[in-house]
Symmetry: C2
Subunit: 388 residues, 2 copies
């Protein structure tokens, strides 16, 4: 099987982008990625697009064909992948497999969501489709309330505090100050988070990632083809995916996301690296408690010690393991289909050394962690570069 | 690269299934397919699921995780693919590529749609997401009206008649008489079609495929693994996909679906067979004109002669090339995400010789043709069996 490298990245600003349509966003990101790769549009052999709920958000399905059409690259195959908030991560993995299969040498992978054209109520219902509508959302549960249950369990079992969760948000906002594409480029304080009002106790407004518009794209290439074309690339050592029950009530434990653990174990094994080898990581912090769960379930800190690790500054820039240097979902924004691709871009740009004020010095191995719903899908990918 | 075979098939009844939920349907089809393969659920390594618009139809996304959950096969990866009415065909191709990539040996591929829990108006809007909402559907065009434009062009250029289109429906209803899972098991006449009232002139009610609930699943396996396990399988020689513009107005010609032509050419080349080698074919007859376009664009009849071929009985059971022995979308039903998988099942069962009254004697090579929207996606797969 051939190896796969990322040879180009492109991303739009994330935020409430009233003046840009869904198709403008994904086209902007894809054109930037193609330009960054040094190739032309006609070199692309296939497209994978991650998008969660375009049917609900903009009344449009058939997103694969739409992307190929607006990029002007017909008639190449173009396929949408959906796994709720892990749609981008899943699309990345399908692009990775398409090259591994020998079917393609050069594949574009994009992720996009346009969430701000509907009311907050409609957006909440659309996002509810990531959980179990029949047993959770139809009965009044919301996503903040599902993650609030996870937070309560963690607090009860391990003594994790609301302040420690707030520190996740504070750190991610601080990181986003150095990311020009982030939705929120402003610092916040623990006090501000603590006073921001409960959405679902113990989670407050500033514990939650926002509704966002945005798109991101990467160009993948087989290592042989990249060498033949004289292109630099960051290698994807592994991209692994796992599933769990859709409903929280069916889980064996609410102290961990089992899909994250399984995907991570498989990814470490495939990549031949250990958690301690990772230099920088982007995790799925849809809520602050999710980042604490992630850094434990990915093996960076012992179960129950995530909150303390955050408090001790171990996940800050300059700490033992910088987490969410992009600002994460919390501060960089969370256009759901785009998030998994944005994480991959942050991994690649850290390894390329292009991250300016948020650069992790000497970053060589990066990990991304993308979650769907309350953990029913998880995708973990490991990047190592730079091949020439 | 390894070869891929189908080792099991499972399908539900198609129709207005008021007593079965989305998750019951896909689980029923998948369990039947696993049982048919002779394997157990724990042998499945990954799942691909085709589904178009579950967000609009049942308020649920995250369909990959849902399928794995209700099948009880966590934590394996499970991914939803969407390409409008070609979602099933695209999922089949992703399962095929997953095995080709060496990533998996045994993969379950399913397709499902539950369309009758919303009003006909809401269903029409959901299906409109297959076309270009911004330039077509929001302005009042419906899917029957888009295909009516294609019918008008074909009639004007080639003299195709409304009676010839009616004969497609009559043939497919006659075939469905022999398919116990078909939605409409009743014969109709050309006169009945002609009198059935215009939906979008020249297309009448009985030129249109129905709204349906249903699910279908197949188990794919690498040829080596199937031999090792002593399982019989029908080989997938090729599965190719192509794209076209989302909007009809952007096409160079309305006399053909270019994505069908490109996907077919690539599939024939990969499979090493010619159109004349195909013994039986399932095409995407969402409207009767679509079947006429398909049998031309797939190379079975010269451009413009599809209507005449139907009139001459060449596509009937016992004719030169039996088309849509299952009853097609028209009479077997069209739960959109399931259709591409149902077509694959018909191909496999024809080659296995299991089709009873609709069996094509000595069928060895079968082709399936699945279209998204008005032709922006097409998937063509070629099956040949029976390996032991």
């Amino acid at each position: 099987m051939t190896d796969v490298v990322v040879i180009g990245t492109g991303i739009t600003k994330f935020g409430e982008l009233w003046d840009k349509s869904f198709r403008e966003l994904i086209t902007e990101a894809a054109i930037k990625a193609i330009a960054d790769s040094g190739l032309g549009g006609t070199d692309i052999e296939a497209i994978y697009g991650g998008c969660m709920a375009s049917g609900r958000f903009i009344g449009q399905e058939h997103i694969g064909a739409l992307i190929a059409d607006y990029l002007g690259v017909n008639p190449i195959p173009s396929t949408r992948c959906e796994a709720a908030c892990a749609s981008g991560g899943v699309a990345l993995r399908q692009g990775f497999l398409a090259i591994k299969s020998g079917e393609n040498d050069i594949v574009a992978v994009g992720g996009v969501e346009k969430m701000t054209e509907v009311s907050t109520e409609e957006a909440g219902f659309a996002l509810g489709g990531a959980g179990d509508q029949e047993t959770e959302l139809f009965h009044g549960a919301t996503f903040p309330s599902l993650y609030a249950l996870l937070a309560r369990c963690h607090m009860h079992e391990f003594g994790t505090t609301e302040e420690q969760m707030a520190m996740v948000a504070v750190k991610n906002h601080a990181n986003a100050m150095h990311n020009p594409n982030a939705q929120f480029q402003r610092e916040i304080s623990v006090e501000k988070v603590m006073n921001s009002g409960y959405v679902a106790e113990p989670l407050k407004l500033l514990d939650c990632s926002p509704l966002s518009d945005g798109a991101a794209a990467v160009i993948l290439c087989s290592k042989e083809k990249a060498r033949e074309l004289g292109l630099k690339g960051v290698e994807i050592l592994a991209s692994e995916q796992a599933s769990d029950t859709l409903a929280l009530a069916d889980r064996k434990s609410l102290l961990e996301l089992n899909a994250t653990k399984i995907a991570a174990q498989k990814a470490y094994a495939k990549a031949g690296v250990k958690a301690s080898d990772i230099d920088v990581v982007e995790v799925h912090d849809c809520f602050t408690i999710a980042e604490i769960l992630a850094i434990e379930d990915l093996g960076f800190f012992k179960k129950g010690e995530g909150g303390k690790a955050v408090e001790q500054g171990k996940t800050k820039l300059g700490g033992k393991l910088p987490v969410n240097t992009s600002g994460g979902l919390k501060a960089a924004g969370h256009p759901v289909g785009a998030t998994g691709i944005k994480q991959a871009i942050e991994a690649v740009e850290q390894i390329r050394g292009n991250c300016g004020g948020r650069q992790v010095k000497g970053a060589k191995i990066a990990l991304t962690h993308n979650v769907g719903g309350s953990g029913a899908t998880a995708v973990v990918s490991i990047f190592k570069g730079l091949i020439k």
